[in-house]
Amino acid sequence: MQINEEMLSAFLDGELPPAEMAAIRQQLQSDVALADRLAELAAVDERVRRRYAAIDERPLPESVKRLLSAERQGAKGHVVPLAPSSWRTRLQRPISYAVAAALVVGFGLGQMFDRTAPTEPSNWTVIAGALETAVSGERVPLSSGTQLLPRLVFINSSGEFCRQYQLQQTGEIHEQIACRRGSDPAHWQPVASVQVMGGVDADRYQLASGAQLLDAVLDQMIVGDLITPAQERRLRESNWSMAGD
């Protein structure tokens, strides 16, 4: 079969009839030049995708957030307090910027947004324990074979301390938020979670739409500045009993 550029391009998109898809697959096995050309075209797509995903790292304009926020208030009939943008400003500082940029998932994999507690209660005790003592930016291995990476500490509108963190377990990555409530040992309660899938090579990562969803939740929750590393240390040392200064 004579395979032209148009067919090869459509093959890349899975847009040919099944018989032609199969015929090209067959020919690719023996035709090195054809395989090379296909790789070249696929590489073009990948480079273009990566280039334009770069805008994900730039914070969504306030004007667009205001539009969406106004729309939501109109639709649901209640006022969502707008968080100050200071946390985002802080995220753009060099160290914290890496934190924001690290909110990634593999390209093309689905994300699920879920405001209910996504974590099994038995695991939660372990996670809550780690949230009590873990240092932001430092990965903590948990006993159940999972890993926790705390990223941010902030105060929500109820005056509770909250942490945003990544939970990684057997091929799954969750970006979650938990807040510290009450004074019993159960302390930390899950508040929000973006479930993403892992297992993709690092150089194929790009920002996920899940990160934007998490941004929207953080925007609603954060009151005032983020807790600084020094404040966070004092909080951990005092069992989270004093207000951030």
């Binding site: 090869l8 280039r51 805008i55 304009p61 934007q212 929207a216």
Partner: protein, 161 residues
Amino acid sequence: MHDELMAILPGLRRFAFSLTGSMSDADDLLQNTVERLLSRERPADADLLKWAFRVCRNLWIDECRARKVRQQAATQPELAEGQWVDGERAARSQLEWFQVDAAMATLTEDQRQLIALVAMQGMSYDEVAEILAVPKGTVMSRLARARAALAGALGKAGVRS
């Protein structure tokens, strides 16, 4: 509609970026698009995704007619390059970005849209045909030419990240 819109916003924003070639222009375009989507009644038979991309594209075409930005950027790549003022460039391969920008600038507006919708957004030819209001066969042939042109431009540039 808020949640639906939030879900497609990142893709819409990348699409805007690929059309404008500048992050700040992309965000202006995104804002106009969101404004339009929220202020207009959604056509009864329209899927939000397709409608949103169509609105975005149409706004950009109007903008191009008014400003002829793209021609300027295509003939003066250094001008388009000067528009990237964002800090993340420092942490990325500037050469890689420059090469992709330069390659995309060699495409026609139609070709750029096709690459953005199919290669970046992963849309089907049927969806793209509907958004761009052209026959599916046209999508297939134009896209192949666009990919070949990009491969040529990027191949000449040589260096890969």
